[in-house]
Amino acid sequence: MQREVKFAGFGGQGILSAGKFLAEAGIEEGKEVAWVPSYGPEMRGGTAYCTVVLADHPIGSPIVNAPMDLVAMNRPSLEKFEDTIKPGGFILVNSSLIPDRVKRTDVTEILIPCNKEANDLGNRKGANMVALGAYVACSGVIKLETVLSIVRTEFQRKPQFIEANNALIKRGAELALQALEAVL
């Protein structure tokens, strides 16, 4: 088994940390993981993205030109990466910031208004965690509980953030499952 997901958005949207939480959760479940950031010139002002590879065998090439899934947090990311996703994968679209729909018919589109949901939960900067929860729930690549436990470990020293973040993740998961049910 190997599955890759690209998280993409603006710098400052918490793209890299969403990917990091997923990678940490992968390790927790005994998987091989690689987290590869973009550090090229496109980081300045354009899209920021990272790819997380999860596998049950040692990972060969950590750079994957055609990942299985995409989490698009802004419009340029969807435009840039929609065509690269493997057939059968998920494209999670942050519909708060992206008015477009996925054009392809061989992937599953999941629309989640990540910013709106984060705002509703009183956490303006938490759209990335909504997206993370949504991605984990629809892909089933790791258990939701593992991600929640990673949040508890990561914020050990700032316990006030644990519940807030986990509420965002759970909300994303809930919406993704609803969206998935509607599609299937």
Partner: protein, 351 residues
């Protein structure tokens, strides 16, 4: 300790600390600046020193000085920075000082770009600076292996009293992977009191020098160094990966390109194409004998060197095989990592 998710650059810093290297001199350059960032925070916690120099020239000469005192010291940089350090590296090698340098290679020549490359293969394996010398060069392919290599590097540097280089690249430096420090034997600093310049109070002075104006003495020193590089050949390490028993084609690749080749080989082997990987783990000394043995087998028809440069390692592949089998090349440059699909295609064109 459980596996920890770490950036290659941070793991480099942590591994060096665990090897007891508490003297780090550096000047920032992408894509390895996180080594310095990490050590700026960590060194004070363990009673070590991180000194940010005014330039790579400064950093490398501070390294020269610290190594002359027999202490475990190291530096890290990326390609253009390593070029600037080349003068000091030549001096350190002449003075026979154990030390470790990490090159998180980026695309050149010139200022080049900040993305991963293996364009410094010839620079690092042939010396890089002036005079007859070699570094022992280890080329890890994963973050975990980078940690292992740093431990080995300090031991090998002590053993041969010679600088050891870790040849990483921008991908290894920037990527996060799980690291298990407990799985790596910890390297312990060696006693260098017989030669180190530590203050001559109560004993005869120790002299650490690089100037031999008398040609007879200089030749003698050069012969001594050459003998040392000859002895170092036993440190050559390699890995053979994949294949279905009688590979027709051998891919030669190191570091990141070897990882890409592994993915390509998995796919090809699955399709029934018998291809295997020969990965030099030390690029100096190059595992000549092992590659020669493999390449001379009857079933091996051809070799394909996969690199992130214009084909620099082909020189060594040619030396190993005495050009008895055709050697082809596939590579990407400028900071582009080849894709497994491209490697598969390159192999299929040859078979």
């Amino acid at each position: 300790m459980a596996k920890k998710l770490m950036k290659g650059n941070e793991a480099i810093g942590e591994a060096a600390i665990r090897a007891g290297a508490l003297h780090y001199f550096a000047y920032p350059i992408t894509p390895q600046t996180e080594v310095a960032e990490y050590l700026a925070r960590r060194m004070p916690e363990v009673g070590g020193v991180f000194l940010q120099a005014e330039s790579e020239l400064g950093a490398s000469n501070m390294l020269f000085g610290a190594a002359a005192s027999g202490k475990r010291a190291f530096t890290s940089s990326s390609s253009p920075g390593i070029s600037l350090m080349s003068e000091a590296i030549s001096y350190i090698t002449c003075a026979e000082l154990p030390t470790v340098l990490i090159n998180v290679c980026r695309a050149g020549p010139g200022l080049g770009g900040i993305l991963p490359s293996q364009g410094d293969y010839l620079q690092s394996t042939r010396g890089g600076g002036h005079g007859d010398y070699h570094l022992l060069v280890l080329a890890p392919a994963t973050v975990q292996e980078t940690v292992e290599h740093i431990m080995m590097a300090f031991d090998l540097a002590d053993k041969y009293r010679n600088p050891v280089m870790i040849f990483a690249d921008g991908l290894i430096g920037q990527m996060m992977e799980p690291v298990d420090f407990d799985a790596v034997p910890v390297s312990k600093p060696m006693d260098h009191s017989s030669w180190a310049a530590t203050g001559a109070k109560g004993r005869d002075p120790h002299i650490v020098k690089t100037l031999y104006l008398n040609p007879i003495d200089n030749e003698k020193h050069n012969i001594h160094l050459a003998e040392k590089y000859e002895r170092m050949q036993v440190e050559a390490r390699h890995e053979i990966y994949g294949g279905l028993g009688k590979p027709e084609l051998i891919i030669t690749a190191f570091g990141t390109s070897a990882r890409v080749a592994k993915t390509a080989i998995d796919q090809l082997n699955e399709e029934g194409v018998d291809v295997a990987l020969f990965r030099p783990i030390t690029i100096y000394p190059f595992p000549f004998k092992a590659l020669a043995e493999l390449a001379k087998k009857k079933h091996v028809k051809t070799l394909l060197s996969v690199e992130m440069n214009s084909g620099q390692m082909i020189e060594d592949v040619r030396l190993a095989t005495q050009s008895k089998k055709p050697i082809h090349f596939f590579g990407r440059q400028g900071g582009i990592v080849p894709s497994p699909e491209e490697v598969v295609e390159a192999v299929k064109k040859l078979l």
